[in-house]
Symmetry: C2
Subunit: 820 residues, 2 copies
């Protein structure tokens, strides 16, 4: 194993930038530190002790392996191995056996996790990944005897099947304890519960060698009174060859073998998912049709095949990341921008908010708002998938511009149970579409015919959807001419029409008041910020009349903000259902909120007259602290039915005074707009995982990805993070750092270069792939400014301004930028 690097910030691990890995060297991390495997439908979550679970496309309806969230201990259950020599049993990932290991490393890489461990001079190298284009997780396990004597060893695999529907699986035991069915054929263990009836799918777990036994019944393998740490079969040293009939089916292979001195043996395990067409469910004699499973197992039945698949996966990721690479003075910045932030953006794009150790995978579909925002972080890597996603999302919009708040990934239909009236939702479609067009130049997407309300009869162009989004604000204004907030805007917990007294009532889906008074200054800012892009698009497409109409509405909104949205030292947050201000000096608590400061300034409001700087100074003074910028201050100490869920959280947590990280980049961007590169970057470093690594023990969640929330300054545990991985934080931070701090910003007509950096930053190089061409950009800052392009050269030739044109595909251009 490689030596620990000198730059180690924490005892738990370190970044290995060369391999694009985070290396965990102590299995007892402050919380399970996980990784995501899979890119295109087949997914696994895997922790640093090999805990986690697997599903196909939908974490609720097609769960392959069982997982118990918030268990005691946290993170028990996964895809496990036991190695046994004599009476000694250990696991390659420490858990489940938990025997102390002589060496331990978990290397979370891009789409794979590798576990290197050693005990009794037996070295284990386990690599888990989902090969590209494959509905299977592959586990390559190598064991090496590092002694001079032969060793007799046993190896047991273990996973527990989930009976497909994850919600039903954890509640409906009255039925489920009677339905489980498996089949064992050689080294292939099949899970076929409910295949006899309405399912056309089954799962299998195979190994590419003969086995000396197996188990498929959990109780037979573990014993009724044993946990995963000490299965009876393993303690006994012999598999039970059990066939599960109901109760809890599992899959465990049993291998017994000798390793000669210095010898290495390798096994490949495949956990696969198969769908059979209706006519091919059964063999001629009525048995399970295993053809596809056997083919899938055969695709990975040799070390060479697995090595090729791993190489293909590495190429896939390299190709994605290559779209934006920085070489700058701070390795932490480099590894965030080049590797981990992009990686997290891809994971968030794939999973939305559906499955993590915080999101249990049964509650939420794809969010209209979430999924639009997530595109900001990936559109430069996977423009084709972004295009598809935009059209999927737009199809769940209604003709009046409103939108289903969520839609189901399996069906792509809007979720009627949750419904609509989150009045910021429509605007995000404008942002995502514009981000896509600026990245790709694909204006044709605007002419795509897209249904409203998933009804092909109501289809219209995507452009018409954008107009509907814009007009949804225009048609839903409140008494101050500001946008009505509906159930909530981006802040799901600011519920101004809910007035709930029933603890079993959802704050998000309940409206106990008519909702025609409460207004959101944040949406007002969004409307102008995104609306200006809409106007620019209209002009670019020659829709002059529409552009002028829209501009009049933007002007009216700017006037409304001027008159009713400014509180003296910052922008107001909202007006409640009684018309009273929120986020104002007039309030005792919740006097200032982060959202309108970000969005009004991104909209350009107050940039000319100093209000932007005043507001940002207020943010700095009242909201910012060591671990980020809190959402509001002071936090609410009591429940306010007129404010909703925000006031239900203890002070300093979540939306009530927590650092809701998603919103911090808005302030970073706002700071760049007023030219304050030092503050923008300072805020960036307070959140960016690589910079926070030194706080790992306090932070708790993974030091390589953003969390949704860090406890705020009024919390009992300031600096402690929760809800890592799946958060709009990833995309917005990426957007802020790459486009506004580093300042390489796509536009309709080319790449704008407009960095806003700390004055002390002397320069950096960025390789940016844009519309097929490669831009090799060197930025120099000898004068120590924060912002301002003094001169730019393309391929050695000085050019005017700071907009790089669109170059021919596959061309390469060297760009020099002098700040000053």
């Amino acid at each position: 194993m490689p030596e620990k690097p000198p730059n180690k910030q924490t005892e738990f691990g370190y970044f290995d930038d060369e391999h694009k890995e985070y290396v965990i060297i102590d299995p007892k991390t402050p919380y399970p530190w996980i990784n995501y495997l899979g890119n295109d439908g087949f997914y696994s979550l895997i922790s640093n002790t090999t805990g986690g679970y697997t599903f196909y496309k939908d974490a609720k309806f097609r769960r392959l392996t069982r997982y118990r969230y918030n268990n005691v201990p946290v993170d028990s259950g996964g895809k496990y191995f036991y190695i046994r020599e004599g009476g000694c049993v250990w696991s390659p990932g420490w858990k489940p056996a938990q025997a102390p290991l002589d060496q331990y490393q978990c290397r979370h890489g891009l789409g794979y996790s590798r576990f290197l461990s050693s005990k009794r001079q037996v070295h284990c190298d386990l690599t888990c990944f989902v090969p590209l284009g494959t509905r299977a997780e592959v586990q390559r396990l190598r064991l090496s005897n590092r002694t001079e004597a032969p060793k007799k060893l046993q190896l047991y695999s273990l996973l527990e099947w989930c009976l497909w529907n994850a919600e039903d699986d954890m509640t409906n035991f009255q039925r489920n304890f009677s339905t489980g069915e498996v089949e064992v054929d050689g080294s292939h263990i099949y899970h076929k519960t409910e295949y006899r009836e309405r399912r056309d799918h089954y799962a299998f777990y195979s190994v590419n060698s003969e086995i000396q036994g197996f188990d498929t019944d959990r109780e037979a393998f573990l014993g009724l009174y044993n946990g995963f740490e000490a299965p009876e079969a393993v303690t006994r040293g012999r598999a039970g060859n059990s066939i599960a009939h109901g109760w809890s089916p599992i899959a465990s292979h049993f291998l017994e073998f000798e390793l000669g001195p210095g010898e290495t043996k390798e096994w490949i395990f495949v956990l696969g998912y198969v769908e059979n067409p209706a006519g091919e469910k059964w063999t001629a004699d009525g048995g399970l049709n295993k053809t596809r499973a056997l083919q899938m197992a055969a695709d990975f039945d040799s070390g060479e095949k697995v090595t090729r698949a791993l190489a293909a996966l590495a190429d896939y990721w390299q190709n994605l990341l290559d779209a934006y690479q920085i070489s700058g003075p701070d390795t932490r910045l480099n590894r965030m921008v080049n590797i981990w932030n992009q990686y997290q953006c891809m994971v968030t794009f794939n999973f939305s908010r559906s499955a993590s150790f915080f999101e249990s995978g049964i509650g939420r579909g794809m969010g209209f708002r979430d999924s639009n925002q997530d595109l900001l972080g990936v559109v430069h890597m996977i423009p084709e998938r972004a295009r598809e996603r935009i059209l999927d999302i737009a199809a769940t919009q209604f003709e009046d511009g409103s939108a289903y708040h969520q839609y189901q990934p399996l069906t792509k239909r809007g979720n009627a149970a949750i419904g609509k009236n989150f009045n910021d939702d429509p605007l995000w479609l404008i942002q995502s579409t514009l981000a896509y067009i600026k990245e790709t130049g694909d204006f044709d997407i605007l002419e795509e015919s897209v249904p409203f309300d998933n009804d092909p009869a109501k289809a219209n162009s995507l452009f018409a959807h954008l107009t509907a989004s814009f007009d949804h604000v225009v048609n839903n204004l409140g008494p101050h001419g500001l946008p009505l907030i509906g159930r909530a805007d981006w802040n799901d917990c600011l519920n101004l029409n809910c007035f709930s007294q029933d603890p079993n009532e959802s704050f998000q889906t309940t409206e106990n008041r008519a909702g025609e008074v409460a207004e959101s200054v944040m949406i007002a800012g969004m409307f102008i910020a995104f609306g200006r892009d809409y106007v620019a698009l209209c002009r670019h497409r020659g829709h002059t009349e529409e552009a002028e109409r829209a501009e009049r509405h933007l002007q009216a909104m700017a006037t409304a903000i001027d008159r009713h949205g400014w509180d003296g030292d910052w922008f107001l947050r909202a007006y409640d259902a009684a018309g009273k201000p929120i986020g104002s000096h007039a309030n005792r608590q919740g006097r200032i909120f982060i959202e309108p400061q970000g969005f009004c300034i991104m909209a350009g409001v107050g940039l000319d007259d100093g209000r932007a700087r005043t507001a940002l100074d207020s943010v700095n003074k009242l909201l910012a602290y060591e671990h980020g910028i809190v959402l509001n201050y002071p936090a609410y100490t009591q429940y306010h039915p007129e404010y909703g869920e925000i006031s239900t959280y203890p002070q300093g947590y979540k939306e009530n005074g927590g650092v809701f990280c998603h919103s911090n980049p808005w302030i970073m961007i706002a700071e760049t707009l007023v030219g304050n590169g030092d503050r923008a970057f300072d805020y960036y470093t307070r959140l960016a995982p690589a910079f926070r690594e030194k706080h790992a023990a306090l932070h708790k969640t993974e030091p390589y990805v953003y969390a949704q929330m860090i406890a705020g300054k009024e919390a009992a545990t300031p600096g402690q993070a929760k809800n890592s991985w799946l958060t709009g934080t990833a995309a917005w931070n990426y957007y802020a750092v790459t486009q506004f701090i580093l300042g390489v910003r796509p536009t309709f007509d080319g790449l704008l270069i407009d960095p806003c950096i700390p004055a002390a930053m002397k320069g950096f190089q960025i390789t940016r792939k844009f519309r097929g061409a490669t831009y090799e950009i060197s930025v120099a800052n000898p004068a120590g400014v924060s912002r301002g392009v003094q001169q730019m050269w393309v391929d050695g030739t000085a050019v005017a301004g700071n907009l790089l044109p669109v170059f021919a595909p596959r061309s390469y251009h060297r760009v020099e930028v002098l700040l000053g």
Copy 2:
């Protein structure tokens, strides 16, 4: 501890009839063997290793302590204690510490569970119960030093709070990890999550002595990587005095003390639930109002108070059980009738199907059918509560006689999400109401005004509800003049209008066909069986015209059964949506079903012409086997969309060829109707727990209560039970054995004496409380007959016939019965 009795049938335990306890002597039972604490809203489930959970009224919406179903190992988590001496740690119920105990007994009694254990000469006596009329579980823990030397000991309590809504608690971590709040005040630990907002309730856990420390944060107490078996605080020997902020709040008291030689110390722990009126939520200074909690803790702060509460509980149960006591030749029969079957009936009445180790407590409300049937087993014990329940249930009926299939216990309103169209439902209201009237003579209940559809504007008399029930069948007949089955009849899994191909679709709530063809012969039998009682009631009340009208419909139904419901050797089960027979010689599988044999014969069909005997012989030949009578035969080996869920189960399980125990008493009753006392009793003993105790290891679930299902003869594991405790099996078996086998049967006008027993049974004595009088009944069978009362004497005087009149309340009468 008492000696093990000589009649022990299994190594796991034995019945202690004197104390009305089942005594478990090996903590490693084949499955967790549980008990229910609480009678009136505050409930705990407790396993033989002190696992389980607590809730108030509704297991979904008001869960006090957390529980993980189907965990690994099964049954981890509960209300636990740790005793520590030096480095040695053990638990009074073996779990969670799992240190071997020198002695172990779990005594599950009526409304309490007691754990007697010993290690290192420290004897522990732990009794857990819910005092009558109290929203709290009380735990009395006594420790005795049985050595000659003083001992320094530590005691830790532990429970894990559930954040109230059990479903949300196990899924919504994104919110829940941030909301947990506790407070510690002296020896009182308060759980007050969400009290700051919409909840008016909190929970507390107290002990009646000073404590030396506490913990309220799970991770601080257990450590992130420890299970319940080895908390870090206990291993360390010192509490962390942690205050939980979000994550997972717990409650743990820490006590350190010395026990002198031979000394015994006693502690009383109280886990309570408090609701504060809106105006009394807070103290003057804004703190949690603890008045009610402190009062509740004070109610049980001394050994004397607890002893009194335990005595009151014992009196309560004795009084209930005294309503029917048998002294017969078989102690197994006695303990079933006198103790365990009545106890299970009460538990089933209290919990319906809401919470067990199989029912996760989040899925089901009160079933219309279930709750009506459950009354059969308790109406003699708690007539007032039965009356209330009948009126509650009836209020969820619609004006056309149809009924919500379920209603919510908290609101008593019908569950619209599940809806209606289970066409047997309405008839069960007739049965339960008649059972109540026969028991009590309270005909006035018929005049109670009861809403339809929970709408007071649609109220009518309960009698009108019964008429609506009757007419719902009359108005919903199919092509053969038999009742339409709707979504299902009693067999929830025979779904003849569902035709589901979507695995995420409920078989019960989906109707993909119009439903105007499929018919149920079982409902036809029910209609006559219960309809005859309805006619008798009409005549008794003088509604002659209605009686005659109803009789004509019964006659028509009898004719329909004769013409279309008889298959030659047994009664048909149903006609499917294509009009094809089910449960017929014409079928390849599912040729014969149990339900119509039971119900048609209970309706009297075929009693005169030999068809009843023929059908019962077919049952005996084709359905009955060692472990009971299976539901259908042969079991389905493939999915039949036209039959629905029944064909989804593997052969021999649940409704597909399993012994669905609920239905077996119907055959027992039918056998008594043809006078076959030997067979009736034989069937009784195949299911009755006390008789099955010898199969305990195979049976798996508790040997003192019925299970819903025992795997059938075609199963892979014949004789293995599942889904114990909450099943209509309890009430129906009680009804069959007490009223038809032992033959003491309430009627409108008195107690009918009509035993039908094994010819070899020489006699028995029954004490029956009926309408306030006590009947001391001695039955003698010197001639060795099965059925037929030759002569009866009341208080020494010979009387004609076999109907005992209604005696004056509080009178006592000696009855002698001579069979022959």
